[in-house]
Symmetry: C3
Subunit: 353 residues, 3 copies
């Protein structure tokens, strides 16, 4: 078994991944490559999200190029019709419908700004296993969510968000202080998850938040609790505590940064993010400033990780990388991914006796 | 042995394929990839078509980049000269000509709108094996021919044209009636060929033909006799019979649809087509309407088969596909191709005794 | 062992190659792929050329995307700092510096218009092994140097420059006389080098030179002494001797053509060239005419060798090529490269006893 997962590690199927922004899904089918499969994404007439294998089992035509009417997808090649549960409704050229002729129907769940997909055996899909992200649907938070396609492996993205020491460098145009590079988070493995907690005496508030705050802002203390939640998800819960209360008595501001990574292939990734704040809720101007700021910053990660993947591709492989102390959470998560991959590859346990 | 040929099956060499439209060939060499080889195509000064290996055997320069004069091709690198029979006429840097220095000269035959090439051992080329397509050269027919490059495997194209159940779907903008999807052709294997015959009570006439016909057109009966003639060729002979005769007493109209598929690689295809009609012969306006209509329809196939190939490429392989009753002719032809591939791969029989 | 090296032969590492034009190197880092590695090229503050592995050993970020200050390169990801000798100056996130954290520092030497790089074990780099090209730095010569990226294998470029029989064909727009094709050079192996010497009664002078010369030019005799000096370098020393002396008594003109080939990958090459003349030294107008003329001619090679590589790629491999007498020097050099590759692959000799 590999000690640490890398670009050669098989992708993990038995998980919930974000398939799309909820706002992306309409009655019109959308094609997206997820874990090396072509997936059709759409909404049924009752608004429910639908995810189906996009390959027509007949002659491999992409069903996303077909037509949808009354929750029935008609293949654009020979017109075989499929229901949104994957079952076949009709084969125009004959009276009977072969039972094997069906689409893989992926379990899906919509939650706040995201639609999640279960890529493993549907029988094993349990909504209880969905990552808990209650702030995304809470009225106490305003959430801005968006999407990037990244030409880099999802593990590089996970390592990136897990290790804040890159802030003053990759994001040097935004974070000038070296404080983030010198921070010493507490790191612990919690089952297959990884937690990294950090308190910084003068951690920068995002600008769209700092603007809302009075004179105390520069003296804010930042507490961050970051989690590798599994292959699909990283989130960091940040609390900014002011040195002296605002006029309304307020001292603490919460900002939750969520990064969902869904492998398209072993070296490309769908990157969904959401930033939620418990201030200026309902203020569309702050929403837009948040979106612009975060897109700018996260795009630096997207571009940087592409450069890394390009260079490794140019040198023809998965290079050996040297680690420093700050990589402990990154190594832990890669260790966990290696363990999970080994478990998925293992034969299912047999009953004894 | 494979039961049904697919994208992994070796290409079949011992056949005549269409190399080019006759109108494409001039004194100026043309490069075309045929069965994974680079081929030079041109006309000799007497107008005869010529097909030669395009790779200079000396240092692999493409001879199509060289110069032709008096039926001698001068390589653009070191000037070695080759005759149109592939023999070497001169090596400028020395007095003698090594006998091994020669090009593969492909047997070629021009017939009507097409130039055919034999891709197997030239010694085995027999013009008697050329597919019989007499209507292409008959004065009773007007023929329009054209060419597409298709980013899809030639077998997908063969299956496409063999099975008319796709008409109301992939060509839904043209064929609205579901009649084609419900048709039940008679299918039979004839040696390595496959025949599919069909009579449809109200089969649509192509519009450039229907326009020429009086009130009887909607009631026309369509009889189609479609043939997988081998890896290189499919044709469908269609007879449209009017319910009542035209003013001139005419009842039947013939339209022959010919589709020639020449693999460039295992997943890309040169697609030559010809549509011949026994009406409005010599009418250039009908020719142009025929060309425009057929280009529009056949381009839907070209685009659709590219989508299929893309999707299969994205999922990394040759997927298992499920078949329905209407696939019988398609499966038969893939079965025949698998058999022919096995035969080509087998060692040549040795004389006994 | 292979008899003649081709595109499948491992690249030779234990050599000096040209990494860049001296004029390309500045304080700003430049990325260049050399022998399948990504290399960072720059100048230190004292002007010395620097070549380092461009991959940050930490998480593979391209250091060329980082920042340089006071001869220290700061990685653009987590800010690890490296000195121009490859040693690590600082890891911002911790106090200590792991000793393994260092860049490969390639030995480099600047000489005239070129910066050379040693791609083998640095301990084995000896400046004494640098190819001797004294004319490049001599005040008696004016040198014009330039660069092309070639999508073809470096061995094809070596064969190209070694064999002048291609002049009247690939460069038919410039060299019209067939004299070059009929020339019979003397060829000899000198150790791992190959020499090809030639005297031509009426060898063409380059036009920028011919213009400087009086009526005797057409009668000039050309003596060329061409050398395959190793995988990195070819040069041809040409002497043009006039039939009758110039007004100033001058009879001989020297032009040295240098071609340095540095493999980027097995099928792509950095091509640096320099043309040096011992006439019109210091005349910028002649420099520019020389540059324009030579770029035009050498670009015909660049384009032609790309066509060759494309065709071979299309036919899926490294074809067997047939040789003629004029290929003797080309075969010799490919033989030598095969020998050198075998030697590099061999285990290092062990002390005995
Ligand atoms: S490919 Fe979908 S119906 Fe045939
Ligand atoms: S490559 Fe054609 S003559 Fe040399
Ligand atoms: S990748 Fe260079 S410092 Fe981390």
């Amino acid at each position: 078994m590999q000690r640490f997962a890398d670009n050669t590690t098989p992708l993990l199927r038995d998980h919930w991944y974000v398939a799309a922004l909820a706002s992306e899904l309409t009655a019109e089918p959308l094609e997206r490559q997820i874990l090396e499969r072509s997936v059709l994404l759409m909404r049924a007439s009752d608004g429910a999200p639908v995810a189906l294998s996009n390959r027509c089992p007949h002659r491999s035509f992409p069903l996303s190029r077909g037509r949808v009417e009354n929750d029935v997808i008609t293949c654009g090649y020979h017109g075989i019709r499929f229901r949104t549960d994957g079952s076949c409704a009709e084969v125009p050229s004959q009276d009977s419908v072969p039972s094997a002729l069906r689409l893989h129907a992926y379990p899906v769940v919509e939650a706040g700004p995201f639609v999640w997909i279960w890529t493993g055996d549907p029988a094993a899909a349990r909504t209880a296993d969905l990552p808990a992200t209650p702030w995304l649907t809470s009225a106490d938070f305003a959430t801005v969510a968006d999407y990037f396609f990244v030409e880099s492996a999802y593990l590089r993205m996970h390592e990136n968000v897990m290790d804040l020491t890159h802030l003053p460098f990759l994001h040097g145009t935004v974070f000038r202080s070296l404080e983030f590079a010198r921070a010493r988070p507490e790191v612990e493995a919690v089952g297959m998850k990884v937690r990294s907690s950090l308190t910084m005496p003068s951690g920068s508030m995002p600008p769209y938040l700092a603007k809302l705050v009075g004179s105390g802002a520069p003296a804010s203390v930042r507490h961050t609790d970051a989690w590798f939640d599994g292959p699909a998800l990283h989130y960091a819960l940040a609390r900014y505590s002011l040195a002296e209360p605002e006029a309304d008595g307020r001292v603490d501001f919460l900002v939750n940064f969520l990064h969902a990574f869904t492998p398209a292939t072993k070296t490309s990734t769908h990157y969904f993010w959401a930033v939620s704040r418990d201030a200026a809720v309902g203020d569309a101007a702050v929403d837009e400033e948040c979106r612009a700021t975060q897109r700018y910053v996260f795009h630096q990660d997207v571009e940087g990780m592409r450069w890394v993947e390009d260079l490794c591709g140019q040198e023809g492989g998965t290079p050996e990388e040297l680690s420093v102390a700050a990589d402990r959470p990154g190594l832990l998560l890669r260790r966990h991914v290696a363990l999970m991959a080994a478990e998925e590859a293992a034969p299912a346990p047999q009953p004894v006796g």
